[in-house]
């Protein structure tokens, strides 16, 4: 296996892909958003229960490649308990990592996605769940689509 691919498919990503966290519909959700990538057919629904301005619970459901599924799974573990501004800040950090490959040590699980930057076509896969989550936080009904915003 070439080094490039093991950079892209790090252990953390394979683990989240095989055993996704917080997967399935959240019956108590009060915010839902759908994300899709029409060019490849990947889909991701994000369910949030927002209480007192914080994400009390979160789940995702959908289908897609290992990168998109692992990213959404990891995201759910990072966003629980966060406020909307904190969630946006986390996404900015994640986005920086997947687009530049530069990962500061302290956010180690995010660092597993640093290899994505070498595969530009896959950046949209890594950010699909995040866009849906941020839309859900804003309470926007419109589905997140990778075709109407930047990566």
């Amino acid at each position: 296996m070439s080094p490039d691919l093991t950079d892209l498919y790090q252990h953390v990503i394979l683990d989240h892909n095989r055993r996704p966290r917080n997967r399935g519909r959240l019956p108590t959700a009060n915010r839902v958003a759908h994300g899709d990538n029409p060019s490849c057919g990947d889909q991701c629904d994000v369910f949030l229960r927002v209480e007192d301005g914080r994400i009390a619970d979160i789940s995702f459901d959908g289908s897609g490649c290992a990168i998109s599924q692992a990213s959404a799974s990891l995201m759910t573990t990072q966003l629980k308990g966060r406020t909307a501004p904190e969630a946006v800040k986390l996404f900015d950090q994640f986005h920086e990592i997947v687009t530049t490959g530069n990962a500061p040590d302290e956010i180690s699980d995010f660092a597993a996605f640093a290899g994505v930057h070498a595969f530009p076509a896959r950046i949209k896969c890594a950010t699909l769940g995040w866009h849906a989550a941020l839309n859900a936080l804003k309470g926007e009904d419109a589905p997140a689509t990778t075709e109407t915003h930047a990566d």
Binding site: M1, L5, S63, A66
Partner: protein
């Protein structure tokens, strides 16, 4: 004319300059031919030669270069007519590709002939290009859509339903010759005969067939046939709508502009007959000329030989892939064209494609512009290997070995 002895496939492969390169440090194995094929040197050179020597606008010029360009363009039209055995060159309308050809029929013929209560018959295996234009014209005219179902995983049309579906309300029946996702080859002559008996016109999407097998529109008995140049060793941006002359001459224009009129007043105009009626504006004459050269190239090899070659590669791939663990191959097990679509239980198609790419192998992964069909098959995406005249047994074997490594990697 098809050569009598077997083609020299190694020599043919050397005609395609793009194949002689490395991708990710490995020799390129190009298996995305259903999306677009590579181009032989003769086609690439024809395009350069045209721009270097003969380039001028066609039809209205009286100078030498315009005459040469017009001869090249109209020569290509006659060449394409021979390629599909059309009765007259005037039955060949140049378009941007299959999609525009189908949109032309839907918008022009549909607007003039479809009324509320009329039915457009399609099949469940149509590419979005032979579905969405019909959805649009149905909305505009009040006609409705109806679909010939497919049977299970084999992906064949359920022909036992056809006579029940071909009611007098069906005005037009549009279907693909070869499915880009399933690899199914539909019995087009039989479908056309049954449609004709029921009083419906027929439109064939031949994007996946015309460069891979002999096509005779007279023998098939279709009313319209659409295809793209770039999927048959030609260049991008040029395609063809074949239509029976009396149908084309009775249809209103698709777009208005120069080149398609006989007489223009401030308030109205009179149209030229087909094909100029449907070619408003400066046509894509350079790419049309190169398409004619692609026809020459394919006929010099012989489409019966290409068809056999592609199908043998697909058979080899189908048999070897069937033995991989956790694989589901969709489409018919026999009577299939030169492509194989598959899904792995534990590896998403996009990951399959990324891993193959690292081995220099170009595959396609996704819904293949076939979202309703994918849903019917219970899939969101498949990976697809599609073959053409320059592919080899060794490339099929390399694909299988690469997939084996991918499966092992994800199994952990």
């Amino acid at each position: 004319m098809p050569t009598e002895s077997a083609p020299d496939w190694d020599k043919i492969r050397a005609d395609f300059p793009a194949l002689a390169q490395e991708v990710n440090g490995r020799p390129l194995i190009y298996l995305d031919n259903a999306a677009t094929t590579q181009k032989p040197r003769s086609v690439i050179d024809a395009l350069s030669r045209f721009y270097e020597h003969d380039n001028a606008n066609v039809h209205r010029g009286l100078h030498a270069l315009s005459t040469r360009a017009t001869d090249a363009y109209e020569g290509a039209r006659a060449r394409v007519a021979r390629f599909i055995h059309a009765a007259h060159p005037e039955e060949i309308v140049f378009t941007r590709g299959t999609t525009e050809s189908i949109n032309l029929v839907a918008a022009s013929w549909g607007a003039a002939n479809l009324h509320p209560g009329d039915v457009i018959l399609l099949t469940e295996m149509e590419h979005h290009s032979n579905l969405v234009p019909w959805q649009m014209i149905a909305k505009r005219t009040g006609a409705t859509l109806r679909f010939v179902p497919i049977t299970g995983n084999e992906g064949l049309l359920d022909l036992s339903q056809l006579d029940r579906l071909l009611t007098p309300e069906v005005k037009i029946f549009a279907f693909t010759h070869v499915s880009n996702t399933l690899g199914t080859i539909n019995p087009v002559a039989d479908l056309c005969a049954r449609a004709r008996k029921a009083g419906a016109l027929t439109v064939i999407d031949a994007a996946q067939s015309v460069g891979h097998m002999p096509i005779d529109v007279g023998a098939i008995g279709c009313d319209f046939l659409a295809f793209s140049g770039h999927k048959m060793a030609g260049v991008t941006g040029i395609g063809v709508l074949y239509g029976r002359r009396e149908l084309l001459d009775a249809m209103p224009p698709y777009q208005g502009g120069g080149g398609m009129i006989n007489h223009v007043e401030f308030f109205e105009s009179r149209w030229k007959p087909s094909p100029e009626r449907f070619e408003a504006g400066t046509p894509n004459f350079a790419d049309a000329y190169a398409l004619g050269v692609a026809c020459d190239y394919l006929d010099s090899v012989g489409r019966p030989a290409i068809e056999k070659h592609d199908e043998a590669l697909a058979r080899r791939a189908y048999d070897a892939l069937s033995r991989l663990p956790g694989i589901r191959i969709i489409g018919p097990s026999t009577e299939r064209t030169g492509l194989v679509s598959f899904a792995l239980n534990d590896v998403h198609a996009h990951d399959v494609v990324t891993f193959a790419d690292q081995d220099g192998i170009a595959l396609r992964g996704g819904h293949h512009c076939n979202q309703p069909l994918m849903r019917k098959l219970g899939l969101t995406s498949t990976a697809r290997a599609s073959f053409y005249l320059y592919n080899t047994d060794a490339e099929v074997d390399a694909l299988v070995a690469s997939l084996r490594r991918t499966i092992k990697f994800f199994a952990g």
